[in-house]
């Protein structure tokens, strides 16, 4: 495969908690370009195929102006099940309004969970979709929240089915860092603030090690390093909204209630850096996706691919399907403008891709192989339609200012701490306890982490 042979640097950016329809569903709408090749929303305000119900009241998708939301949205396993609303053997995708009410206790005529954004509010994502490739059947691997889905993304296994303030267990010999190390593949993580990888069990030495660098170093590294020195796999992490300390970074991970604007700015920054040097860009593949749908409506049913608990899992009931679709964009000069890849993908498609590139087989491990046999394709399938040679043009990203309502207006009043926020705080404390000096050198913002916390607050599960 010509393009995959030529690509030497894979850049993976994983944002938080948005559904495909929330970010890119507008692409197929008549008032926003009417792309018939993309499976987005069609006449969402009147299309009865999308109606959600709460106490017999119907709710339609609605245009949501980007900005800080009043509440986070429901996305734990039980409430995702309510959102998928399986009936008569079908996932009806009709429970997003109901789950929002159950989770927030708020009953409004315009539940944000039914919201989609206009292209003006997702300018960078819309730009990449137009100029490179959009994957309109990329699913979160599991119908659950952040931690299980990120476990799948970075190991192919989910020993947990929920997000809790505890170290995330890792199935031995499955984690991406260990896998890359074993094959002599250079890799690096660029993080804004606290890295999500700090939440995984036993990764302290990696997270404090030389492969983890502040995103502030990325421009200089990218410019200075030769092809021989550059890492082959780069993970770029946003500033997580749930991080306990924000110092020098605005949350830009797209996690509600955080707005999309800062994340779109961040994605534009990354794209501009990667495309600065044509030679390096010609060897680069940028993958930008969201870890899970975050509680936002999506109209496409998940894939009926089950996931059994791996050995040592902290749950017993297998997952019966993937999660809902998430926005996923792939950019490289090897990709023609306006590409739409419709094959079934999930986060393990990245592991397949890396395994193909660095070990000659898509079967990263047993579970990834099982998912491949169940229908999940590799990202390399998208490259099957790649160009014979890299494009000579480098499209310029939108130059307009991207509104960042978080920074301009300030966040809503602090609300009850979620389990994800508690998990970040616990991981940061563990990191400090492991090696305070190195932790503060690597993550200086942790100096502002309060040592004493009030009594654990009840989680946001009203009603």
């Amino acid at each position: 495969m010509a393009a995959l042979d030529q690509i030497q640097t894979f850049v993976v950016v994983m944002f938080e908690n948005r559904s495909f329809d929330n970010v890119l569903g507008h692409l197929s709408m008549s008032r926003f370009g009417k792309r018939k090749d993309v499976e987005g929303l069609i006449d969402p305000e009147t299309n009865l195929d999308y109606t959600n119900f709460l106490d017999a009241q119907g709710y339609q998708p609605l245009e949501l102006k980007d900005g800080s939301l009043l509440h986070d949205l429901p996305h734990n396993r039980a409430l995702v099940e309510a959102q998928l609303a399986k009936a008569n053997g079908r996932y009806t995708m009709s429970g997003f309004a109901d789950a929002y009410f159950r989770y927030t206790g708020s009953r409004v005529s315009d539940p944000p969970s039914m919201g989609f954004l206009a292209p003006a509010d997702t300018p960078m994502s819309s730009f990449l979709a137009a100029q490179y490739a959009i994957c309109d059947h990329w699913f979160a691997p599991l119908p659950a929240d952040t931690q299980p889905n990120r476990s799948m993304a970075f190991s192919g296994y989910a020993p947990i089915d929920n997000t809790k303030p505890r170290p995330i267990p890792i199935v031995p010999e499955s984690f991406i860092f260990e896998w890359l190390n074993a094959r002599g593949v250079r890799w690096r993580v660029y993080h804004c603030g606290t890295s999500f990888f700090a939440l995984f069990d036993g990764l302290h030495e990696e997270v404090l090690g030389p492969n983890f660098r502040s995103f502030r170093h990325f421009p200089a590294d990218w410019e200075a390093e030769s092809a021989a020195e550059m890492p082959a796999v780069i993970f770029i992490e946003p500033e997580y909204s749930d991080s306990p300390v924000h110092f020098g970074w605005t949350p830009n991970d797209n996690h509600p209630p955080t707005a999309m604007g800062p994340g779109e700015n961040f994605l534009r920054d990354i794209y501009k850096l990667l495309t600065k040097d044509v030679e390096k860009w010609n060897r680069t593949l940028l993958l930008a996706m969201h870890d899970e749908h975050g509680g936002f409506f999506d109209h496409v049913s998940p894939l009926a691919i089950s996931s059994p608990p791996p050995p040592g899992a902290l749950y017993q009931v297998p997952f019966q399907s993937t999660g809902p679709r998430v926005p996923a964009l792939v950019a490289s000069p090897w990709i023609p403008p306006g590409t739409v890849f419709k094959g079934p993908l999930d986060h393990t498609s990245i592991l397949q891709l890396l395994a193909e590139k660095f070990s000659g087989t898509p079967d990263y491990n047993e579970e990834v192989a099982r998912r491949r046999k169940a229908g999940i394709q590799s990202v390399s399938a998208l490259l099957a339609a790649s160009l014979d040679r890299p494009r000579s043009d480098i499209p310029s990203p939108p130059a307009d200012t991207i509104i960042s309502p978080v920074a301009l207006k300030g966040a809503p009043e602090p609300q009850i701490e979620t389990e994800s926020q508690q998990a970040f705080t616990a991981a940061a404390k563990d990191l400090l306890a492991h090696d305070r000096k190195r932790a503060l050198e690597k993550y200086p913002e942790l100096a502002h982490l309060p040592e004493a916390q009030p009594e654990p607050a009840p989680t946001a599960t009203p009603r």
Partner: protein, 264 residues
């Protein structure tokens, strides 16, 4: 280079730690209130004379107890749909004193006790917001009330099923807590390309495709409804279910009829 090195913190706030003892102007971002307050307390504490330190300790001990993590345990507004002149009853239970706000403003909003009940008569569709402020964490919920005739169209329906081979059916109940007893379905619209049969009380009407009926104009919206559509000759119940995407929905135009004896 438009990196994300933007200043984070919002407007400066003044934090008073103890009466007459110390005031610290801090750059505090709202979300970071808790941790910054603790940092600020620590910094300020070291500058205080001994007698004021005792005051600070006392304040630190009682503040979380007084205003720590606020929580709303329940909040409801009923009915959610009313006729002009009718009242809604608002009930709440929270950990601390609450603030009830309305948009647009109505008489009766304002501060209230941690647990309470209030009757309010909005003359327009209104969003009620209950807030429980806390220094460390606050909590908030919203509830919309629709006042007919300001927005009288309403989408009703539910998930459909194949109860027998001849029909795809859904049934649902509009509870009294959700609508005034005076609301009437003056018109019911069938948006589908297939006939719908609507049943309520003793009335059953077949509405042709893309048509409407006024046969329910004297019937209260509250109560149990059944919607069904026949499985066509070229369909199985399963394909008929797929054709309606496993849902059956109607649009009702609502109006306010006469007050029913015993109704609110």
């Amino acid at each position: 280079m438009e990196m994300g090195y933007r200043a984070l913190y919002g407007a400066p706030r003044v934090l008073v730690l103890a009466p007459g003892a110390f005031a610290a102007a801090l750059w505090v971002r709202k979300k970071d209130t808790e941790r910054n307050m603790i940092d600020a307390r620590r910094a300020a504490y070291s500058l205080l004379p001994l007698h004021d330190r005792l005051l600070v300790v006392a304040m630190l001990c009682i503040t979380p107890w007084m205003t720590g993590c606020a929580q709303i345990k329940s909040f409801s507004v009923a009915p959610s749909t009313i006729c002009p002149g009718e009242t809604v009853e608002i009930n709440w239970k929270a950990s601390h004193k609450v603030t009830l706000q309305a948009s647009p403003p109505v008489a009766g909003e304002g501060e209230g006790p941690a647990e309470g009940r209030r009757s309010i008569a909005p003359d327009r569709s209104t969003r009620f917001t209950l807030k429980v402020p806390g220094v460390l964490k606050s909590d908030q919920r919203e509830w919309d009330v629709q006042v007919i005739p300001s927005q009288s169209a309403r989408l009703l329906g539910g998930i459909a099923r194949c109860d027998d081979a001849r029909f795809v059916t859904t049934s649902f109940t509009i509870e009294q807590k959700d609508t005034s007893a005076r609301t009437r379905a003056v018109s019911i619209v069938n948006h589908y390309q297939r006939p719908l049969v609507i049943s309520k009380d003793a009335i059953e009407v077949e509405i042709p495709p893309n048509s409407a009926t006024d046969r329910f104009k004297a019937v209260s919206l509250a109560g149990s409804w059944i919607i069904r559509t026949a499985v066509a000759q070229n369909e199985t119940c399963d394909t008929a279910l797929e054709a309606v995407r496993a849902r059956l929905t109607i649009t009702t135009q609502m109006s306010c009829g006469e007050r029913v004896h015993g109704s609110p």
